[in-house]
Structures are given as structure tokens and as C-alpha cells.
């Protein structure tokens, strides 16, 4: 009887989690009682789910932390538009760097929340002072998410009207040349395998993300193939020490005669990437404006320990960690006419690397703050460094 009871409790707990995940109920309560009534089975159990639905239209006000920027987000949401957990959201976000608005429609497959489909319409403005570039994107995207065994896949089509401009009159000519309008229509596929126990400061598990994007064959005037991957491995050693290794890399191959656009290229450096260097300030540049590169790699080795002498143990102190790191990376262009071997060689010479130590603070399960003391090494002429104390906030760190 105990086993059956356990089984029932476990399954009803799972069902409750599933119902909550739909995002349409404010509260779900489970009542388990013996069967009663005329058609009651002997030894039967009645499981009742009492749910309180959310209001038809809800508003929200949040603050958001992205990679080294913060923003204020106002939102309107219809959590359950047609009765099958379809969500329509309208968001307006005003941030330190970006202003944007967006409308999105999300529909999960009934009974199978992991499989879902969404359509987004958006306008996003961004300012990138490291390149003296201003970018305004107006676009529409449709996305299909589905799991296959232990992996999560996303198929997306995106059409974006991109407008680039100079942030200041003193912008370099290379950035000026990229100003103007362009239309990108791309198909992309992403695969994620995540076995970590937490997204921020995981103790064990691994993450592998592979993303590819093909632009140009469904319209538009940007044509390229872009690949990038992210790998992270965490292992807990003795005495609460966690060892973490990560590797990122990517490549952008323009198809046809047009060179790659500054808005598609990869950037390296900063408190969320190779620490010890200024934000996105590694690699090809012109008069102080960083132009990004067509190929890059970056790696990091970290050792996380609890704070020395463990203050606030069991409470606030658990959100902090000290960490020792070693980061390295390289970024280059591929338009010099060499083959794959030459590309690998180029990525292997003039490696930038840095080491240091610092304190990490976990913010919920979404973001983390870091305060590090860094020693940048392998600095090439043109790179901008931030040796000494560097502060970083974000959701995705090397």
C-alpha cells in the first residue's frame, strides 16, 4: 500500500509540475483521498487537481540583466488565448544600451510542452561603442522547438531588415562603409544538450550547444554560412571545489562576392569572454573601432571555491564563490585567400590569454556578477586591455 501511495504521490507531483509549466495556472493543488461515492472502487484513490487560472490579460514590469547591460521591461500577456496554453506577449524594453519592442505568439503542442512553435515580430535598437556602430533591426522570426532523445533542437527562419549607422562623426571609414540597409533572410538550426544541475555555477554536468545559420537562399541580400559551438564541462572535486572547462568557437563563411557584414561577425574580449581585455576589443580594428572577425575560438579553465573562511554559511554566503581562472582566445578574418590549413595556423598564432582571480555572485538562476583581478597576456597591438580590476554581469560567461 505504501508503494502504491508513493507512486501516486510521485505521479501527481509530476502532473502538477507539468500543469504549472504551461504557464496558465496561478496555483495547482493536489488532493488525494480515498474513493467516495456510488461508483467508488474498493481501495481506490481520488486524485483531484484544484487549479486557479491566471487572469485573461496580465501586465508585468521587470528588470533584466543581459551581457553587461540592464534594462526595464514592460509587458502585456495573454497567457491562454485559445484555451490550449497559447501565449501572446507584447514587450517593451528600455535599457542602458538598447530600446526594443516585440510581439510574440507561442503555441505548445497539447500534451507535449517541449514541442512548441512561436512567431515573433520585433524591433531592436543597439549601440556598440567598441565599434562606433548603431544597429536597428526590424524583423520577423518563426521558431520550432522539439526534443529528440536527450537533445533539444530549434529550427528557425528569420527575416531581418537591418540598418547600420555610425555612432559618432569620428567613426572610422571601415565602419562608415558598412552603414546602410540590408535584408537578411536566414534559416538556422540549434542543438542543445544540457546535463548540468544548474545554469549558473553548476557543480556537475556538461553543456554542448551547436548552432548553424544559412542566410541568403530564402531572399535578402546577405549570403553566408555561420557555425558556432559552445562546450562546458563541470566536475566537483573534493571539499566543495568545482573545476570547470569551457570552449567556444565559430566561423562565418560569406557565400558569393559580398564580404561579411560587421553585424554578423564574431567579437572577442571582455568580462564575459576573455577577461582582462575591454569589451569586444580584440582583433581586427581600424582607428580604434573593432570590426570583429570571421573565425574565433576561446577557452577557459576555472576553479570555484567557497569564500575563504565561509562567512554567511547556509545563507547569503552560499551565493558567492571565489574563482581562479585562465582564459585564452583568438579572433581573425578569413579573407586573405588561404585554405583551411592557413586558417588554423592563423588562429593558433598570436593567442591572447589571461589569468586571475575574483569573486562570483549568483543572481537567482539567471545571471551572475563577477569582480575579478586580471592579468592580460599575449596582447597584440590594437587590442584594448583592462588589466587590474574588472567587473562583469551577464548570463553567458566563458
Amino acid at each position: 500500500v505504501c508503494e502504491i501511495m508513493d507512486e501516486v504521490m510521485r505521479k501527481s507531483h509530476e502532473a502538477r509540475e507539468k500543469l504549472l509549466r504551461l504557464g496558465i495556472f496561478r496555483q495547482v493543488e493536489v488532493l488525494i483521498d480515498t474513493c467516495q461515492g456510488d461508483d467508488a472502487l474498493p481501495n481506490g484513490l481520488d486524485v483531484t487537481f484544484e487549479v486557479t487560472e491566471l487572469r485573461r490579460l496580465t501586465g508585468s514590469y521587470n528588470t533584466m540583466v543581459g551581457n553587461n547591460e540592464g534594462s526595464m521591461v514592460l509587458g502585456l500577456k495573454f497567457p491562454n488565448l485559445f484555451g490550449r496554453a497559447e501565449k501572446v506577449t507584447f514587450q517593451f524594453s528600455y535599457g542602458t544600451k538598447e530600446t526594443s519592442y516585440g510581439l510574440s505568439f507561442f503555441k505548445p503542442q497539447p500534451g507535449n510542452f517541449e514541442r512548441n512553435f512561436s512567431v515573433n515580430l520585433y524591433k531592436v535598437t543597439g549601440q556598440f561603442p567598441w565599434s562606433s556602430l548603431r544597429e536597428t533591426d526590424r524583423g520577423i522570426s518563426t521558431e520550432l522547438n522539439f526534443p529528440i532523445w536527450k537533445t533539444n533542437h530549434t529550427l528557425k527562419w528569420e527575416g531581418v531588415w537591418r540598418e547600420l549607422g555610425c555612432l559618432a562623426r569620428t567613426a572610422s571609414f571601415s565602419v562608415r562603409e558598412e552603414s546602410g540597409h540590408s535584408l537578411k533572410s536566414s534559416l538556422s538550426h540549434a542543438m542543445v544538450i544540457d546535463s548540468r544541475n544548474s545554469t549558473i555555477l553548476p557543480k556537475r554536468g556538461a553543456l554542448l550547444k551547436i548552432n548553424q545559420e544559412l542566410a541568403g537562399y530564402t531572399g535578402g541580400d546577405m549570403r553566408f554560412l555561420k557555425e558556432d559551438f559552445e562546450f562546458q564541462l563541470n566536475k566537483q572535486l573534493l571539499w566543495d571545489l568545482v573545476f570547470s572547462a569551457s570552449l567556444w568557437g565559430g566561423m562565418l563563411v560569406p557565400i558569393g562576392d559580398k564580404p561579411s557584414s560587421i553585424a554578423d561577425r564574431f567579437y572577442l574580449g571582455g568580462p564575459t569572454s576573455v577577461r582582462g581585455f575591454s569589451m569586444y576589443s580584440i582583433g581586427p580594428q581600424n582607428e580604434g573601432d573593432y570590426l570583429g572577425g570571421d573565425a574565433y575560438w576561446a577557452g577557459g579553465l576555472h576553479l570555484y571555491t567557497p569564500l575563504p573562511f565561509r562567512p554567511g554559511r547556509g545563507g547569503f554566503g552560499d551565493l558567492f564563490r571565489t574563482h581562479f581562472f585562465l582564459n585564452a582566445g583568438n579572433l581573425c578574418n578569413l579573407n586573405y585567400g588561404g585554405g583551411p590549413r592557413a586558417h588554423l595556423q592563423k588562429l593558433a598564432e598570436y593567442i591572447r590569454w589571461s589569468y586571475g582571480a575574483g569573486i562570483v555572485l549568483r543572481l537567482g538562476n539567471i545571471a551572475r556578477l563577477e569582480l575579478n583581478y586580471c592579468f592580460p597576456m599575449g596582447v597584440q597591438s590594437g587590442d584594448r586591455i583592462c588589466d587590474g580590476v574588472q567587473f562583469g554581469a551577464g548570463i553567458r560567461f566563458l
Binding site: 562603409e177 552603414s179 546602410g180 540597409h181 535584408l183
Partner: protein
């Protein structure tokens, strides 16, 4: 309107009391720095862009400065002020005729050194006239005349971009120009009125030119470059009607003036330097 401007400027110059006599000397230097002028490719050019490009080319060649023309579809967005063409010299980018003239002057080249104060004021007055009348008339014809807009301007303006961007950008530009027209009071004008204004402007220019080779004696000045740019474009650009070019053709000395400048500054250079884009392409030439 033009008479008022002219008189006001002239009276200012008199009251300033600076009437001098100078020896006109047209210096010929070769600068040493290469000047790149950047504009939209010919096939994509609106007549307005072409005329500005031409007048700038005329000016630079009158100063005898080596110029290389580069064509880009996004020239309008590359320019710091949003106007094409612009020049890229070393590290500097300068757009629009006024600043370019100042820039070239700062480097030691000027076409109007030989003019006295009165003449300079007069030149400024005529340049204002051309800018207010001819330029606005050209913009009106391209963007406010429905037939021209549909058949010529929209396809030309949107041609470097894929669908639907070509339509969106063309409409955006059209709204912008129409708003400007409304602000200066030209929105209510009919095509006939605009052509009348052009005629009046050409009459004034023709009277000033008379039988002289250039507007101010024997040496070309910025005004000559400006007038050449506008008139040559009007004479050689294909539009839905020929009315605008007919208005200019009525004044023989103006067409002769354009032909003369074309021969002198663009023909010769064409032979020496094939990299320089002369205003002559297979279709466009006054010399037939």
C-alpha cells in the same frame, strides 16, 4: 525671391566698404593627397544625386585636383550628413558642396580668390538662387510628380535592394521629401508653376552669363561648377517628359556654357585618366 536675396547681399557688401581690386590668378597645384569622391553607381542614381556628383566633380577638376570616383549603393548612409556625394581625403570625410569648398580652400585651393567682396556676395546670391530654385524643382519633379515617381524614381532608388526593402526604402524617402516640400511651401505647387520657376531662374542665370565664357569673367568659380552640375543633369537625364530640359534649352548661352565646360574639364581628363568617371556615358552627352 532671388532678386531680394541679390540686393540684400550686395548692399551688405557695399556697406562693409571692402571693394578692392585684385589680380586674378588661377593657381594650379597638384595636391599630393588623393581625393576620393563617393557617390551612388550610375544605374542607381537619382537625377538629383547625379547633378550633385557632377558639380562636385566639376569643381574639383576646375581646381585641378586628382580625383577618383568610387560608386557604392549605400553612399547616402555613409555620408556624415546624409547627402551625396562626399569626399574621403586621408582620414577625413567631407560632404556637401559648401564644406567641400571650405575644405579645399583650407588646403590652399580656391576658385574665388580673384573675386572682390561685391562679386563674392553676388556669387553667393546666385548660388543660393540655384540651390533654392533648381535643386528644389529637381526634387519636386522626382518625388512629387506621380508619373515620374512611379516610372523612374522608385525603381531607380530601390534597385540596389532586394524585395521588399526596395519598396520600403523608396516610400520612406518619398515621405521624407514630401514633408520637406510641405515645410517650404512647395507641396501646393503644380507642375506648371514649378516649370515657371525654373524658367525664371534660367532667365536670371542667362542674363548674368551674357556672352561671357564664365559667370565671373574669364575664370571659373564655384558658381560655374554649381550651375554646370544642375543644368547638365537637367539636359541629359531621361524623364517622363522633356519639359524641364526644354526650359533650359530655350537659353542658348546656357547650353553653350555646359558644352564648353564638358569639353574643357571632362573630355581632356577622359583621355588622360580613364579611372575618372566623366559625365559622358553612351547616352549622356551634349556633344552629338
Amino acid at each position: 525671391m532671388w532678386r531680394y536675396l541679390g540686393e540684400r547681399d550686395l548692399s551688405n557688401a557695399w556697406s562693409a566698404g571692402k571693394v578692392k581690386e585684385r589680380i586674378v590668378q588661377f593657381k594650379k597645384w597638384v595636391m599630393g593627397l588623393s581625393v576620393r569622391t563617393i557617390t551612388r553607381p550610375k544605374a542607381f542614381q537619382k537625377p538629383g544625386h547625379l547633378c550633385l556628383h557632377l558639380l562636385q566633380m566639376a569643381f574639383l577638376q576646375m581646381c585641378n585636383l586628382p580625383v577618383r570616383v568610387v560608386c557604392r549603393a549605400n553612399a547616402e548612409y555613409m555620408s556624415p550628413s546624409g547627402k551625396v556625394p562626399f569626399i574621403h581625403v586621408g582620414n577625413q570625410v567631407v560632404s556637401e558642396l559648401g564644406p567641400i569648398v571650405q575644405f579645399v580652400k583650407a588646403k590652399g585651393h580656391s576658385l574665388s580668390d580673384g573675386l572682390d567682396e561685391v562679386q563674392k556676395a553676388e556669387m553667393k546670391a546666385y548660388m543660393e538662387l540655384v540651390n533654392n530654385m533648381l535643386l528644389t524643382a529637381e526634387l519636386y519633379l522626382q518625388w512629387c510628380d506621380d508619373v515620374t515617381v512611379e516610372e523612374i524614381t522608385h525603381p531607380r532608388y530601390g534597385s540596389p535592394y532586394p524585395w521588399p526593402l526596395n519598396r520600403i526604402l523608396a516610400y520612406q524617402k518619398q515621405w521624407e521629401i514630401r514633408r520637406k516640400m510641405k515645410a517650404i511651401g512647395w507641396a501646393g505647387k503644380s507642375l506648371e508653376q514649378v516649370l515657371e520657376d525654373v524658367d525664371q531662374c534660367c532667365q536670371a542665370l542667362s542674363q548674368r552669363l551674357g556672352t561671357q565664357p564664365y559667370f565671373f569673367n574669364k575664370q571659373p568659380t564655384e558658381l560655374d561648377a554649381l550651375v554646370f552640375g544642375h543644368l547638365f543633369t537637367i539636359l541629359t537625364t531621361q524623364l517622363t517628359t522633356d519639359e524641364l530640359s526644354e526650359k533650359v534649352k530655350n537659353y542658348g548661352n546656357l547650353t553653350a556654357f555646359c558644352r564648353r565646360i564638358e569639353q574643357q574639364y571632362f573630355e581632356g581628363h577622359d583621355k588622360d585618366n580613364s579611372g575618372t568617371a566623366a559625365p559622358r556615358s553612351a547616352k549622356r552627352s551634349l556633344l552629338r
